[in-house]
C-alpha cells in the first residue's frame, strides 16, 4: 500500500535533528502507549503487519503531523475498535470521566 508512510525518496522534510543523550521516552504517556501496544499486539491479538497497517490507515494529513507515539495511539485505538474490544463511545465516555475527575482534583 503506498501512502504518506511510504517516505523513501520524498523531498522537503528538512534536516535530521539527532538529539544528544536522547531519553528512551519523552513523556509518561508515551511509555503507556508503547506498553499497551506491545502487550496487546504481541499478546497475540494481532500481528505486526496488522499493527502497521492500522497505523498506515491513519488519515495521511494526521499521519504526517503526528509524533511517533501518537501514530501508535491512533493505530492501537483503530485495532481495538475493529476487533470489538472497545467502542468509540466507550472511549469518549471514559475520556470525559477522566477529564471531569482531573478538573475536580484541581478545584
Amino acid at each position: 500500500m503506498n501512502g504518506a508512510h511510504d517516505m523513501g525518496g520524498m523531498h522537503g522534510f528538512g534536516p535530521i535533528a539527532p538529539e544528544p543523550d536522547e531519553p528512551v521516552f519523552h513523556a509518561a504517556w508515551e511509555r503507556r502507549v508503547f506498553a499497551l501496544t506491545v502487550a496487546t499486539g504481541f499478546g497475540g491479538e494481532w500481528n505486526i503487519d496488522m499493527g502497521r497497517f492500522a497505523r498506515e490507515s491513519t488519515d495521511p494529513a494526521i499521519y504526517l503531523r503526528s509524533t511517533y507515539y501518537e501514530k501508535w495511539l491512533h493505530g492501537l485505538q483503530h485495532l481495538l475498535i475493529e476487533r470489538g474490544h472497545v467502542s468509540e463511545a466507550e472511549i469518549e465516555q471514559r475520556m470525559a470521566q477522566l477529564a471531569a475527575r482531573e478538573e475536580g482534583g484541581k478545584a
Binding site: M7, G9, E19, A27, A35, R55, Y68, I91, R94
Partner: protein
C-alpha cells in the same frame, strides 16, 4: 538528575494535546477493566525497554566479532543464531542480518516505511530514526545524511543502504578502530556507539571512550 528527568517529562506532557493524554489514560483504564492488560505487566515492559535492553547489547556482539574471527564468521552467516548466544532475541529481532563495514563498503540502515529496528540489540529507536527527514532521505542522499551526523567518507567508499522490513532487521558491524589492538573485549565494547551500529556514525577512537 531525577528532578531534571521529571521536568523534561512534564514539558512534553504539556506539549502533547490534552486529547492524547486523556485517550491514552482512557484506553489503559478500559483495557485493564476488561482484563486485556495488566498494569504491572505494562510497567515491566516499560522497565525492560527503558532500562535493560539497549545498544550496550549490540556493542557486546560487535566487540566479540572484533576479537573472535570464528564468531564473526558465524555472525555474518547467521546473525540471528549468533546473537542468540548472548540471550538477545525475541521481539523485533527474530530475523537478524549483520552487514559488515570494510575499507570499501559502508553500510547504513533505515526503515523508510515506519521504524523497524533490531530491538534486542539496540533497544527502541531514537526519534530521528523514526522521523520523516531520515526515512525520506537516507535512500536518496545517504552521503548528505551522513554529513549531518558528522561522518564524511572518502568518495571511493561505496555506501550501501539497507531498508528494514517487518521481518528482517539489520545491524551494522563497524570496522574496529585503529589503535585498539591492545584493548580487551570489554574495552572494545565501550567504543561501539549506537549510531555506529545503525551506520550513521563510526566507533569512538580508543582513548575517547566516555
Amino acid at each position: 538528575m531525577a528532578h531534571d528527568h521529571h521536568h523534561h517529562d512534564d514539558e512534553h506532557e504539556h506539549a502533547a494535546l490534552p486529547d492524547t493524554l486523556l485517550r491514552t489514560k482512557a484506553l489503559e483504564s478500559l483495557l485493564t477493566e476488561k482484563g486485556l492488560v495488566d498494569p504491572r505487566a505494562l510497567d515491566e515492559l516499560i522497565d525492560t525497554y527503558e532500562h535493560r535492553v539497549g545498544p550496550k547489547n549490540g556493542a557486546r556482539v560487535v566487540a566479540r566479532a572484533w576479537v573472535d574471527p570464528q564468531f564473526k564468521a558465524h555472525l555474518l552467516a547467521d546473525g540471528t543464531d549468533a546473537i542468540k548466544q548472548f540471550g538477545f532475541d525475541g521481539r523485533q529481532g527474530k530475523d537478524m542480518v549483520v552487514v559488515e563495514n570494510t575499507p570499501q563498503v559502508h553500510n547504513m540502515v533505515v526503515c523508510t516505511l515506519c521504524s523497524c529496528y533490531p530491538w534486542p540489540v539496540l533497544g527502541l529507536p531514537p526519534v530521528w530514526y523514526k522521523s520523516s527527514p531520515y526515512r525520506s532521505r537516507a535512500v536518496i542522499d545517504p552521503r548528505g545524511v551522513l554529513a549531518e551526523f558528522g561522518v564524511t567518507l572518502p568518495a571511493t567508499v561505496e555506501v550501501k543502504v539497507w531498508d528494514s522490513t517487518a521481518e528482517v532487521r539489520y545491524l551494522v558491524l563497524p570496522m574496529r578502530p585503529e589503535g585498539s589492538e591492545t584493548l580487551s573485549e570489554e574495552q572494545l565494547a565501550e567504543l561501539v556507539t549506537r549510531d555506529s551500529m545503525i551506520g550513521t556514525g563510526l566507533p569512538r577512537a580508543p582513548g575517547t571512550a566516555v
